[in-house]
């Protein structure tokens, strides 16, 4: 068992993600967030478990489904919510929206709306870290769909060839939009595939935040000590909500509530809550709620960018 502080950290981390995204879902109807949102509800354990193992200087990359990664790595919550609102106080001054989050100060190097792109970018960051002996570990999050893309192959190959300090996190939620994984590849063997490149690979079942935390922690430690090169962790998880948007999607018929049930039954937030003293839970819950309230208030009260901002930042 990890020590109680880690449990509390993980709990808080997941709760912040769930809380923010639940709030997004709740208020989406009022049309203040005019941006497609890809909620990670149900997948919080991945980002929380992974990012807890990282140092502030370490760098993560993610996808359009990136709220959880941004928050777990320590990205500024106010700036994220403001970004969703399209406000100039957003982490990308409103220009990026939900799919393009960044917080360089906290090691969030960016998320992308084109599947697979940040995998290669992360490999480049790892190359820079190695070349310049920065001691920074790079982590890139992507879905099971990204594995289909040629750039995935090219990225794994290069990372292994150069023995780079990178952890590939494949968040396998079983679907790319509505396509199940076995409709896109012959076998359920992402880890085996990664190993052939020379990438150490392991699957973690059950969306288990403690297991994720421990195993990724080992991988990160091995990389940081120079003991080993790139790792891939395939983390089995489940998206509770629709692919994009604030609601559920069982009406579409491509999956059933029964399929989801084991995942909600084993909700990692509930699980950890039971392991923390009641008064601590109460305190953390209150703190997180206050933080979230403040973030949405901050976003609501922030100004939109001035029209001239349209022309800023094209060239640097």
């Amino acid at each position: 068992m990890p020590d109680p502080e880690v449990i509390q950290d993980l709990y808080r981390s997941m709760l912040r993600i769930r809380g923010v995204e639940q709030r997004i879902s709740d208020i989406y109807w009022d049309d203040k967030i005019k941006s497609p949102v890809h909620l990670s509800i149900g997948q919080e354990a991945v980002a929380a478990g992974v990012c807890q193992t990282l140092e502030p200087k370490d760098v993560v990359f993610g996808t359009y489904r990136g709220h959880h990664v941004y928050l777990a790595k320590g990205g500024d919550m106010n700036a994220m919510v403001a970004e969703l609102y399209g406000k100039v106080t957003g982490c990308a001054r409103g220009k990026g929206g939900s799919m393009h989050l960044i917080d360089l100060e906290h090691g969030v190097s960016g998320t992308s709306a084109v599947v697979g792109t940040t995998i290669a970018n992360a490999v480049g960051a790892a190359y820079a870290s190695k070349l310049k002996k920065m001691g920074i570990v790079i982590v890139v999050f992507f879905g099971d769909g990204a594995v289909d893309e040629g750039v995935y192959h090219e990225s794994l190959n290069f990372a292994a060839l150069k023995n780079l300090p990178i952890v590939f996190i494949c968040e396998n939620n079983g679907y790319a939009v509505h396509s199940p994984i076995l409709s896109r590849r012959n076998s359920d063997n992402i880890c085996e595939h990664a190993r052939v490149y020379g990438v150490t690979a392991e699957r973690i079942e059950g969306n288990d935040v403690i297991a994720i935390n421990e195993r990724v922690g080992k991988a990160v430690a091995a990389i940081r000590s120079g003991e080993s090169g790139p790792h891939l962790l395939e983390i089995m998880t489940y998206r509770w909500m629709e692919h994009v948007g604030p609601g559920e999607d069982f009406n579409l018929g491509y999956r059933t509530p029964d399929e989801r049930a084991p995942w909600t039954d084993s909700d990692q937030i509930d699980g950890l809550r039971g392991q923390i003293a009641d008064d601590v839970v109460t305190r953390i819950d209150a703190e997180v709620l206050a933080e979230i309230d403040a973030a949405f208030e901050f976003a609501e009260n922030s100004p939109f960018p001035e029209p001239e901002e349209l022309y800023a930042h094209v060239y640097g």
Partner: protein
């Protein structure tokens, strides 16, 4: 939207319905036609354009693909070389950037490279996104890149009638065709005859006759240009509105005839200006006219598309800004009329799905 058809008993379809009907009819006519792409068989069916096709034609002729744009484009090309007629669908044109190698190095060139031996009859359908925070990577309009390359055809119909006819023509054509759709046209409707018909390539549609200025609107901007022309009536400006429909080949003849009449040309592209379709049209006109004409172009702001709604609005021309520009071209720069309406109602009303 004016179409050639003047039936009284009009059969009205939406754009996606027209696209679906064209696909379905061609699949029935020719069992070599296949539909492939990420999500073509899923519950949302690419805004309904592929709805029910898999049930009707089976999983071998209508299939979801892995997320492998480059490889799947290459696959479509190879299948075409063996006699199939693949329609490859991309829910955003931005993703087609992954397939440029196969489209430009292979599809566009094989017929020529092999001295006429190997035609590549593929259709690549892709959507230009807009509104509700599509942002930098879900909003691009890259038709001019394809116009640049010999061997490709490019069409960008702006209404259901043209969409059906152009898609049927594209499927029947022996060349690779980039079929450009616009997300904001999905709710548009027009008369669409049930029987299959093919629009000829290289034929522009004159949406409205006029005498003071020619306004060309490309893709969704055909809608906005047409709206602008209605606003302009208020100040007595008579605009001729042209939708090229086919961008490669381009119907320069119709454009030149119109400009010869009006002496002024405003091209409104649904894309960036630099080296864009609007540059091409202006250059072609400038090369070909004898008497001086006044030439202008409008399009995306020369920036990346921002996500936040306020900035996003400034990124696009709309019927209002088009009307203002056209009026100034006719009445002089000091004309300070601004129509009350902004236009672009599809954009302001848009709420997904994405």
């Amino acid at each position: 939207m004016s179409t050639d058809n003047t039936d009284t008993n009009q059969r009205i379809l939406t754009y996606p319905e027209a696209v679906r009907e064209a696909t379905l009819q061609e699949m029935e006519r020719d069992d070599g036609v296949i539909v492939m792409g990420i999500g073509v068989d899923d519950p949302k069916a690419i805004y309904g354009t592929t709805a029910g096709l898999q049930e009707r034609f089976g999983e071998d002729r209508v299939f979801d693909t892995p997320l492998s744009e480059d490889g799947m484009t290459g696959m479509a090309i190879g299948a075409a070389q063996m006699g199939l007629r693949p329609i490859h669908v991309h829910i955003r044109m931005d993703f087609v950037l992954l397939a440029m190698n196969q489209l430009i190095n292979v599809a566009a060139k094989n017929l020529y490279t092999f001295g006429g031996a190997a035609p590549v009859p593929i259709v690549v359908r892709s959507y230009i996104g807009r509104s509700w925070g599509q942002g930098p990577q879900h909003s691009q309009a890259l038709h001019s890149m394809f116009m640049h390359v010999p061997g490709l055809r490019v069409v960008a119909p702006s209404n259901p009638y043209d969409a059906k006819g152009a898609l049927i023509a594209s499927i029947r054509d022996n060349n690779p065709v980039m079929f450009v759709e616009h997300r904001l046209l999905s709710d548009s409707t027009s008369h669409v005859p049930e029987e299959p018909y093919a629009l000829p390539f290289g034929k522009a549609r004159v949406q409205q006759q006029g005498s003071d200025i020619t306004i060309i609107g490309i893709s969704y901007m055909a809608v906005e240009a047409y709206r602008a022309a209605q606003y302009l009536k208020e100040v007595g400006v008579s605009a001729e509105v042209i939708d090229p429909v086919s961008l490669s080949p381009l119907d320069l003849e119709t454009i030149l005839a119109s400009v010869a009449k009006t002496g002024r040309l405003l091209v409104v592209d649904n894309g960036w200006l630099t080296c864009g379709a609007s540059a091409e049209i202006l250059a072609s006109v400038a090369e070909n006219v004898e008497s001086p004409v006044s030439l202008k172009r409008m399009g995306f702001a020369p920036v990346t598309c921002p996500t936040t709604p306020g900035l996003e609005q400034g990124f696009y021309p709309n019927a209002q800004t088009i009307a203002v520009m056209a009026n100034q071209m006719v009445q002089g720069k000091s004309a300070d009329w601004v129509p009350d309406e902004i236009g672009a109602t599809e954009a302001t009303e848009f709420r997904g799905p994405f």
